[in-house]
Symmetry: none
Subunit: 210 residues, 4 copies
Amino acid sequence: MPSAKLALSPKKMPVQARSTFTVESIFTATIQVLRDVGLERLTTTRVAERAGTSVGTLYQYFPNKNALLLAVLERHLLFVVQSIENACKDARCKPIADIAATLVNAFVDAKLHDVDASVALIPVRHKLGEEMVVRYTQRVEIAICDVLMTAQDVKFGDLRTIAFILTKAALGPVQALLETGAHPVLTQAVRGHLIVMINSYLRSFMIENR
Amino acid sequence: MPSAKLALSPKKMPVQARSTFTVESIFTATIQVLRDVGLERLTTTRVAERAGTSVGTLYQYFPNKNALLLAVLERHLLFVVQSIENACKDARCKPIADIAATLVNAFVDAKLHDVDASVALIPVRHKLGEEMVVRYTQRVEIAICDVLMTAQDVKFGDLRTIAFILTKAALGPVQALLETGAHPVLTQAVRGHLIVMINSYLRSFMIENR
Amino acid sequence: MPSAKLALSPKKMPVQARSTFTVESIFTATIQVLRDVGLERLTTTRVAERAGTSVGTLYQYFPNKNALLLAVLERHLLFVVQSIENACKDARCKPIADIAATLVNAFVDAKLHDVDASVALIPVRHKLGEEMVVRYTQRVEIAICDVLMTAQDVKFGDLRTIAFILTKAALGPVQALLETGAHPVLTQAVRGHLIVMINSYLRSFMIENR
Amino acid sequence: MPSAKLALSPKKMPVQARSTFTVESIFTATIQVLRDVGLERLTTTRVAERAGTSVGTLYQYFPNKNALLLAVLERHLLFVVQSIENACKDARCKPIADIAATLVNAFVDAKLHDVDASVALIPVRHKLGEEMVVRYTQRVEIAICDVLMTAQDVKFGDLRTIAFILTKAALGPVQALLETGAHPVLTQAVRGHLIVMINSYLRSFMIENR
DNA sequence: CATGAATGAGTCTTCATTCAT
DNA sequence: GATGAATGAAGACTCATTCAT
C-alpha cells in the first residue's frame, strides 16, 4: 500500500504578483495535462511547459510531483466541501424534503461547476488522495449530521450511518455521470432521481414524527 | 519496448494442467503484490517471483503488464456480474421488496467474497479498467432492467435511468466500505440501509400499482 | 556531514560466467572513468558505456552509484590491507629493523601495484569511503601492533599510538607520491627515507632492550 | 550555465566596510554549511541564506561556486603556511632538536587553530584544491629547506626529499587526528610522537656533525 | 547595488520487455 | 518451454547561474 511521501506542502508561499500568477498557471496546466494525456503520462516537465514555465520553477513551488497533484486535488475538494457546508448552513431547520433537495443540488452543482477538473482529478484521488478524501469526507458527513439534526419535521437515529450512506450513494451516480461526460439531459435526470432517492431514504429512517 | 496497447488478450489458452497452474499462480501473485506493495510498485518481475516463476514465463501467458492486470480485473468483474445476473434470474416475478433485497445482497456478497481482491483491484480499475467496467456495468444494468420489468406488484417508466442510479448508488457505499476494511458491523448496517434505500427509491418511481 | 546511503551491498551475486565478466568490466571501467574524467564527472551511464554494457545492467549488480564506487574502493583497500597483514605475518619475531623495512616495502608495493587505481580512488575515499577506510585502517593497526609485540630485540609501550603514527606517517608521503605520478626515482628515495624514518622512530619509543 | 573553470579570482576587491562584512559573512557561512551539511549538499543559495544575503550578492563577489570554495580554502592554507614560515624564521640557526619541535608545534597549532574549518575544508581540498595545495606545499618545503640549512649543529644532503618526507609524514597523522575529532589527549600524544619522529628522522639523515 | 524568481541542462534510477542460453 | 541477464527509453528532481525588478 502506498505510504505518503513526506514534505507535501508547498515549498514557498508565493509573495509577489509574478509568483502568484506562475502558481496559478501551474494549477491550470496540471488540470489540462491531466485531461489531455492522463495521469499516467503526466510529467512535471509537461506540466511546466503547458504552464509556460520551466520544471525548475515548478519545483520552486511544489516539493515534488505528488505534492503538486495533491495541491490541485485539495483545492477542488475544498470547493466541493465548502459548497456543501454552505448548503447545510442554509438548510438548517427546514423540512426534510428541502434539506434533501438543497444537499443534492449543492453537491451536483459543485461537482459540475468545473467538469474538466472533476473528471481530471478522479485518477488523482484514487492514486494519491485516499487519505485527503477521507478527511474531507468526514467534514461533509459532520455537516450533514448537523443539518439532519435540525430538520423541522423529523428526527433520526444512527445519524453517522445515514450520513455515510447518503454521501456515498450520491457520489456514485455523480461520479459515473462525470465519467461519461455529464450530458445535460442525463444530469437533470440524475439530479431529480437523487433528490427523490435521498428524500425517501431519509423518510424511511426517521424515528419520530415531530 | 513499452508501447502498443493492443493485443491485450491472453497469448495462448492454457491447455495443459501445468499451464493452468502457472496462470493461476500468476493471478494469485498479482493480487498479493497489489495488496502488499500497491499498483504503483507492482512490477512484472515481482509478480513472477511471487508466483514462483520467471518473468519470461509470465510473458508467455500475458502479452504485457496491462494485459495481466486487466485479466485479473476481468475475472473479478465477471464473478461479480454473474452473481448479480444469477440473482436477477432468481428474483424474476417476485415482489419489488424481494427484488431489492436479493439484488443488494447479491451485490454485497459478491464484492465481499474476496475482500483482498476487491480492494487490491480498485486502483487497477481506475488506472486501466474504465472501459471494461463500463462494459460489465452495462450487462448489470440490462439484467436489472430485466428483473424490474417482471416485478410482480409494480411497473416502472424510464428503466434505464433507474437501473443506472440503482447500480451506482449501491456501488458508492460498498466501495467506501471496502476502502475502509469492510468491518462486519458496518457491513451489516450498510447492507440493511441499502436494501431500504433501494426499495424506497424504487417505490418512489413506480408508475403503476398492478 | 554526509550520512551513508542504505543498501550499499551488491544486489545480486553474479553466478554465471557472463555475469562475472560483466561485473569485472564494470570495475575496470569505473577506474578508467575515474582516471579520465574524475569523480566529479563520473556518471553511471558513462561507466556502463565504458564497460560495454548498459546502465540497466550496472544497476543489476550495484544498487546505486555510491555502492559501485565503494565496492571498487573496498576491493582496493582489501588488497592493500591483506598485503600488509601478510607482511606482518612474515615479519613476526624478526629484529625491529627488518620489521620496519618489511612493512614499508609491503605498503609501498601494495599502493604502487596499480597506480591508476590508487590515484583514481583518492577522491572516492574522501567523498564516500571515510568509514570504510577507518575500518580497514584498524585492521592494519592491529596487525602492526601484533608484529611489534613479537620484535626479537626490543619492546614497546603505548603500541596503539605508535601504530597510529606509523600508519599515517607512512601514508602521507606515499599518497603525495601517487598524486604526483609516482616517478620511479622519487619512489625509491621515498621508500628508503620511510624505512629509515620508521626504524628510527620505533627505536626512539622502545622501552626495553631485550 | 555551469561551464568554464576560468575566472576563479574574486570579481571585485571589497573596498567598503559593507563589502568586507558581506564577504566575511559568506566565508563564515561557507565553513558552517560545509560543517553542517557537507560539501556534497552545499549550494550557493544555502551559503547565501546562512550568510544573511542573497545568491545574487554572493555572485557579486565570487564568479562561481568553485571560486568561493577555493577562496575559503586559500585563506586557510595561507594561515597555515604563514604560521610555518614564521616558525621557520624563528627557528633559524637553532639546534636541530629545537627546529623539529618548533616546526611540529607550529604545524599542529595552525591546523588545530580552527578545527571546524580544518575539518570542513578536507573535502574541498580533495575535490578542487589539489593544485593550490601543491603550490602552498612548495612554499612550506622551501621554508623548511631554509631552516634546515641554518641548523646550528648538523648539515643535510638531499634537502628536497627530506623536506618532502617531513611535510607529508607530519600531515598524515594530523589529518587523521582532525578526521576523528582531534581529542585533546590524543592530540598531545601525536604532537609528542611527531616531534620525536621528525627529530630522529633528521638525525638519521644528517651528513655532517659540525 | 541587492534580490530571489526563473531557467534547463544534467544525473540518477526504474522497469517493461526481449532473447540467448 | 523456462529462465533471468541485458537493454535503454523515460521521468523525477537538483542547483549553478542569470537578470528583471
